[in-house]
């Protein structure tokens, strides 16, 4: 007799999703991963909007990654119209990306993953059984938030970053305050890896095909995508290399790269850019064993290391901003023309690509967004199946718990993923 085990709704992750395991007796026939967020159809909503509106609207695709969506959209529009930005603007934008990395990883690790490690339901119970750990996590997260709020003018859907420049540049006092706050959480960020380097209660998974942006040293200047064991391809040509299919059971479209299920995110980045600077670099080297060439079980550890890296990097960016001093910058409005622009950033969950076309009036005629979760979806489905098969015969409860944990390794962001290209 066939039976179906359903995990719905998936919890402790962004958005609405569910998993179904179809079994024939003990045998796992197939696993269905559904992303069922109500579609908000951003790519369609953007059509007919003016270029300046695009970044302001598209950042609302997802709150967790609104900063990186906004930055990527700005870069794409600027790419279309050939706008150059100053160093202060670029540094401020990157500072916000790093802040996003800090806040997002801290939220995911301390509020959403930690309950698994301690065997509790969620944050409320954490507050009772491990108040200090929760507070540590919240303190790290808060610094990320403070940076975003100060630099972005608003915590979610930041406004201060705009086409060509900034609404206002940060004052020395603000920067100094942020530096102090970062410094305060640096030790905790450094220690985080210990907490999230725990063995998983399930067997090995397939080895991922990691995909990242290049060059890694310039978070705002991605030129190409590279995949392990493949020649990298220019960002501009992403459409020829990434194909999307609509699934009949999910509102997100499945993306394949070179016909493979790509894996993006923290683990991918550490695998493909092993030469991290600073303390985080050293930390990474000490964990190479658990990370390099390993499966997604290592992703939470990779996130912890990245969180530390982002903290260090944010400090360096702030130092440089203090050195440059606040500038009142005149941002020239780009003159619209018929053009297409494309840009990509490493979001906390991995490669994020935005591409837009505009007519001669600067009105959007094409919008395309490829999100990390859409990219990861295939690999996640594949791993879920592998895991379910690997646990055939085990108690259903144990299996569903394992599947949920695997999903939280991927840290999917479903709101983003259900908005996909117009062909």
């Amino acid at each position: 007799m066939g039976s179906v085990v359903e995990i719905a709704p998936l919890t402790r992750l962004e958005g609405h999703g569910s998993v179904r395991v179809y079994r024939e007796g003990r045998r796992v026939e197939r696993v269905e991963l559904q992303f069922i967020d109500s579609p908000r159809l951003f790519e369609a909503l953007l059509l007919g909007k003016s270029f300046a509106e695009v970044p302001e609207i598209i950042c609302r695709i997802c709150a967790l990654c609104s900063t990186v969506h906004k930055v990527t959209a700005l870069l794409a529009v600027e790419d279309a119209f050939g706008v150059e930005v100053s160093e202060v603007t670029a540094l401020t934008r990157e500072l916000m990306l790093q802040a996003g990395m800090i806040q997002d990883h801290a939220l995911h690790l301390y509020c959403l993953v930690l309950p698994d490690l301690l065997g509790v339901r969620g944050v409320a119970e954490l507050a009772r059984v491990a108040p200090d750990l929760l507070k540590t996590g919240l303190a790290i997260k808060k610094v990320g938030n403070q940076i975003t709020e100060t630099a972005g003018g608003r915590l979610i859907h930041p406004v201060n970053i705009r086409l060509g420049g900034l609404g206002r540049s940060l004052t020395r006092n603000e920067l100094a305050r942020l530096r102090d706050e970062l410094q305060k959480v640096l030790p905790a960020a450094q220690e985080a890896h210990r907490l999230f380097n725990t063995p998983f209660p399930f067997p090995e998974l397939p080895t991922p095909d990691f995909l990242v942006l290049q060059p890694a040293e310039h978070p705002l200047g991605a030129q190409a995508c590279s995949m392990v064991g493949r020649a990298s391809f220019p960002l501009r040509d992403y459409r020829q290399h990434i194909e999307e299919t609509v699934l009949d059971y999910s509102n997100a479209k499945l993306s394949r790269v070179h016909g493979k299920e790509a894996t993006v995110g923290a683990l991918a980045r550490l695998n493909l850019h092993p030469d991290l600077e600073g303390g985080a670099g050293a930390l990474f080297k000490s964990h190479k064993q658990e990370l390099v060439g390993k499966d997604m079980r290592g992703n939470n550890l990779a996130q912890a290391i990245e969180m530390y890296h982002a903290t260090e990097r944010a400090l360096r960016l702030i130092d440089r901003l203090i050195e440059l001093g606040p500038r009142q910058e005149e941002t020239a409005a780009p003159s619209p023309r018929a053009a297409t622009g494309c840009a990509a950033c490493e979001a906390p969950r991995g490669v994020l690509i935005h591409s837009y076309s505009f007519d001669s009036q600067g009105i959007c005629t094409m919008a395309d967004v490829i999100t990390p979760t859409a990219l990861n979806q295939g690999a996640l489905a594949r791993d879920l199946l592998a895991l379910a098969r690997g646990m055939e015969g085990e108690e259903t409860n144990r299996m569903t718990t394992a599947l949920e944990r695997l999903i939280r390794c991927y840290d999917p962001c479903i709101s983003c993923s259900v908005h996909v290209l117009s062909l």
């Binding site: 109500s38 369609a44 997802c62 609104s66 969620g122 507050a127 507070k135 808060k142 979610i156 859907h157």
Partner: protein
């Protein structure tokens, strides 16, 4: 004190409102001592819906049969239903094209002509289907305002309402008026304040993320912007970014 039972969830939305609650890092630990998060899939596992909630805090617009089903369940199970955020109150960004294109056109343009389309209708506010007891506006909402609400609920009341526009706070903070001095398309006069005029404070116009203020003189704002050289199209596009329906003839 008895701990209040809360449901916190999202419909058609970006999770920003729920995240705002999680962003109250300073207050969160104490708050968690005052409430039971019975249903909060974003941050809790083991959620149940078949209890009586003191309050259901719902983010997002309603745009699918599933949204509606969850909304009805929560309405029936809760003493207070809180419309949390601009989408829940006005439809929000997902609804911006409600008046200009059909749902089907939008779906087709994203999912392709030949494919099976997800079941979905134009996103609308919660109040189109159920009665709403309290509201927190904003895209995203202000941390302070959601904390005010949750704390007031715990104290057996609701927070007192503010009803001034963004301009009032903007001027009081001595920002440069972008509408007057830079002739930019600022919606401050007709938009509900309470955000400390965040955007004008950084030199960027109010895009209207908090929806209309009680006495919005929409007709005059429209005239004002037309006078400043903006096209009717552009103005309407901007106005409808967070709320598709405005009465452009309304003066008080």
């Amino acid at each position: 004190m008895r701990r209040m039972k809360l449901a916190i969830t999202g419909l058609t939305a970006c999770s920003g409102c729920q995240l705002t609650l999680l962003n109250c890092e300073d207050e969160l630990p104490e708050l968690l001592g005052h409430c039971e998060l019975v249903y909060f899939p974003l941050a809790e596992s083991g959620n149940v819906l078949d209890v009586q909630f003191d309050a259901a805090i719902v983010e997002g617009a309603v745009s699918t049969p599933k949204d509606l089903e969850l909304l009805f369940k929560l309405r029936n199970a809760s003493t207070h239903l809180v419309a949390y955020g601009t989408c829940a109150l006005f439809g929000g960004v997902a609804a911006m094209n409600n008046r200009v294109s059909t749902r089907r056109e939008l779906l087709r343009s994203v999912f392709g002509a030949g494919e099976k389309l997800p079941e979905s209708f134009p996103p609308v506010p919660l109040a189109n289907f159920v009665s709403v007891d309290a509201a927190v506006t904003g895209c995203p909402p202000e941390k302070q305002e959601i904390m005010e609400l949750v704390v007031a609920l715990a104290a057996g009341t609701l927070p007192p309402a503010r009803s001034y526009p963004v301009c009032t706070e903007c001027r009081s903070h001595e920002n440069l008026c972008l509408l007057l001095e830079k002739r930019e398309l600022c919606l401050g006069p007709v938009v509900q304040g309470g955000c400390n005029a965040r955007c004008p404070a950084t030199g960027i116009v109010c895009e209207g993320c908090r929806g209309p203020v009680r006495e919005a003189n929409v007709a005059q704002e429209l005239e004002l912007l037309l006078e400043r050289g903006f096209g009717r199209d552009e103005i309407e596009r901007r106005m409808s970014r967070f709320k598709p329906e405005w009465d452009y003839g309304k003066r008080s």
